[in-house]
Amino acid sequence: MIRLWPLTFVFIAATALSQQSEHPALMLLDKNEENVLTSGGPVSLYATCGQCHDTDYITHNSYHVSAGLDEMAPPGHLSGERAWDISSGPFGRWDPLTYRLLTAKSEAELDLGTADWIRLFGSRHVGGGPAEISREGKPLEELQAGDDLDPETHVLNPNTGLPEKWDWQGSGSVEMNCFLCHLPNPDNSERIRELKAGRFRWAATATLARTGLVKRSESGWEWDREGFDEDGVCELPIRDPKSGNCGICHALVHYGQEPLDYKHDLDMRATETEGQVYSPQRISGSNMNLAGKDTLSCPWDIHAERLYQCTNCHYSVNNPAFSADKQVNKPGYPSFDSSRENTGDYLERPSHNFAKGSSASILLADSLDGSMRLCESCHDAEKTHTWHPNMKRHLRALACEACHIPRIHAPARSQVDWTVLTPEGQARIEYRGVKGSVDETSSLVTGWQPVLLAREKADRWLSLYPHNIISSWYWVAGDPERPVRLQELKLAFFLEGAYHPDIVSALDENGDRVLSRSELALDTPEKTEAVKKRLEAVGIHAPRIKGEMQPYSIHHNVVSFPWATRRCKDCHSRESRISQPLRLAAYVPGGVVPETIVRTNARMNGELRKTPDGGLEYRPASGDPQVYILGHDRSVWLDGIGLLAILGALAGVVVHGGLRLYIYRQRKKVK
């Protein structure tokens, strides 16, 4: 008898887990379509992969590639964005976590030129798009730097603070890097090294460093003939992207027997901002110094544990295995649409736009919103939650994540403060969920409870989702206002490699002439004024502090039933889970109350409260008419009716009893 039970896994067939690659052997070509063994040049993905796949189609159907290049607008012209944002995508939308501002063409001062954007943020960009094409649509390699300050041909010299011309012909541009996502073990560190060094055209080649096909030489990279056969053909284990590939840029993804090691890194964005970790390993099996570790026997994410890869939900939107059940940009009336790609067409022209939801923080690629496989796509909650009283009401008011992501067990950022600079010239950053420094392995990771914020679900109902909120403070200046450039901040804060004496005098509380981490805070008007004066001294006009709050929705780190929030009193009590506040900041820089960022779909109608220790917390709104929680929320008129009902019932009993007694006595008298 052949055992058939494994076929229950056929659902995930489209993303085969096997290490074996089905991909045929291939010839690595350079941009002139010459074998790299002959030319010795860098591999061109367009020439190599383009032998079979329509790379032009792929690059034009990939938000990972365009990164917002085709959504650019002059500053102040984008609805819902900041006054200085020039795109809705990563290429042009300012991010307080990374701070540097991509300079618009119209700006007089240069902060971040295109080449610097690649050097700085290319680690999380797959290549192509803005790393290859200018904002006007010309190949970057054709641009010549003129005397005019152009952010596409100039970069800022970090040492002098002055603009310099960038030699695109020397650096080359960054092609879309297929290897990064389609190889099991791409060498991302070598790729980043090439990007940071400005050797853009070698970035894709460096990604192959672990394959044995190429090795670093004194002059750059050298192809190793032994990795190829006599025809110059090589075998690469090219395959579907796995979660580990996505994890390179998105989050801490961990597979394997080794205990999970946490290390904070902004390149693992979802881990840094939301504490999300995608791993099948039990939390108790990690190397982290976690509070109550022994009891945390649930996996980091139940879907990772059940062998699901990122692409099972975030699939290519024309993948015939998945897209058939999603009616993206299609009329809703047919229940089945047979007009879809066949496998051959898909392999030639696979869309690299990936199905997505509509999270609170990643408001980009709007056309793909809601295209992904949601919880409801696979789970019939009504069948599994029959134990739940008033189930339908709960399923409407609560997103699955609200109960199934009860707690996050990795630290996440809570506060980013650019109003001061650390000795390394970076913002002071606070984390939630950890006692002590996030850098120290001995610090106790306590975990944290996400705050529940309402967002509209696909059915337009408001549902509560778990979120982190990161509060950021920074200096802005000018009219129209712009964030003060990091260059000027450094000039204001430092003098000859040490803190400027004026800064030390203003911030040094204990008089030891050394600024400790806790002293780096503009928590009094005097300190704020002192830094403001320093900024003015370096030429910043009318600097002022601005604060913003960015909610980040959490959709991973899902736990199964035994670990989910499921006791009635968890929510239906005075200390309801739903109204639990989230600490936003340990102090309030400049006393400036942060504003909720406009471009978010999370409803931030709660209140900000100062805590007794000078911090700031966000308390979700109570008594929201659409989220009225029995046992927690109070309504005066409802309480009044209840009281009247009780009094009325009592009065009825007393009157009725009294009358009965009266009649009984009257009858007794008559007898």
Binding site: R3, P6, A13, A16, L17, G256, P280, E305, L307
Partner: protein, 485 residues
Amino acid sequence: MEKRPGAVVSGAFVLIILCLGFFIIFLQAQAPEQDNPWNRLVKRPPPTDHTYLIKGPLKDGPSVTQACLSCHRSAAKEVMATTHWTWLGHEVRLPGYDHFVRIGKLNSINNFCIGIQSNWPLCTTCHAGYGWRDETFDFTYEKNVDCLICHDGTGTYRKEPGSAGLPAQDVDLLEVARKVSWPSRQNCGYCHFSGGGGDAVKHGDLDGTMYYPHERIDFHMGKLDFNCQDCHWTKKHDISGRSMSYGNDNTDRAPCTDCHSPKPHRRERLNLHTTAIACQTCHIPKMAVGAPTKMSWDWSTAGQDLKVQDPHVYLKIKGSFTFAMNVNPEYYWFNGRGEHYIQGDKIDPEKATPINQPLGGITDSTAKIWPFKVHRGKQIYDKKYNYLLVPKTYGKGGYWTEFDWDLAARLGSEATGLPYSGEYGFAPTEMYWVMTHMVAPKEKALQCTDCHGEHGRLDWKALGYGDDPASSSAWKQARNRKEAE
């Protein structure tokens, strides 16, 4: 009509009681049937106090047995019918043999201390009897049954190593006999935890950490304070359970399903696994959890006066070893039966000879995938006749005193009756030990990704699947299976 308030109150009270009763009955009727292993657990009465029942003096072991038999008249006969006494299994027909055989410690070869023939006095330290010194031992003499080795309740009873199972001189037999009890972990562990010549050596799932285990070592013994007999149900001194080393019939086992439902999981997908996966496969994720177990033993290096004399690395009398702790088992199909090397079977000295290879495969509906410790040995064989030899290691002329392999092989062969050519060598062997103890808490049980996916621990191809069954499309599996065929 006259009002009778007392009657009204009484009536209301009766009504409330009735309502409550109906409500409870209703609730019970509605409650889903739960799998409750506790309902199936054998409950034993407290042991009888023998303090005033046993009269002294008791000069030796057989005297104690005689005292026991004065009341428990059939006990010796019962014991003598079990493998604890005979060291022989039931009659079985092994694959490749056209006749029935009985195999056991009495006549078999293993790849630890190799065999008892010619080494009786030391090996029989763990026999449930007294005086098995040589092949002339009388298996019918009731007074030679050792009751105390299993029923000692004091924890002081012990046998002198090399004394053919006689009690040590310093044991107060009268005191021990008066304090007899139900067998405990100490009684069973005395022999079973130290099989192979030391603690944790042989089994991989039985060692001294189980005398007083933490639940991380063994959930049943640690968390629930089980004794061996709670699972190894015993009738008339016949203890259920079947060792892989000599058990070639699939009877008298102590399966998990004695207490647990065959489909015990809340999740249907896990229950689907139970047709092909033994409970132990997921619930014993690691072997030798608390103490290292011997993974290999190379006899060919013995006899050297090396500086290293470490029972976990090298001993002159035994050769070199490797030990491992908290390691993943190996996984094979197993239908409860196994092949077995019979003395005189030819071997290929260039290949590892499986001594007790488990039987079963993907097409065998009775087989499941089980976890195994595989002990890899290198042991003496006859170069001319190409069969494994039992060397005399213990006692006069034994290898442990003379360090002469030729002499040891000659003396050992005299005991086994197999011809010895005078030429010996060392050949690799493998012995399989199925893991059934050291059950981890469910929080430590294997998860999907422990077996499936890129980092899974199962060798799916070797198990006959062609590819990870959770991995790929049906066509790919079909293709791989075809290729395998």
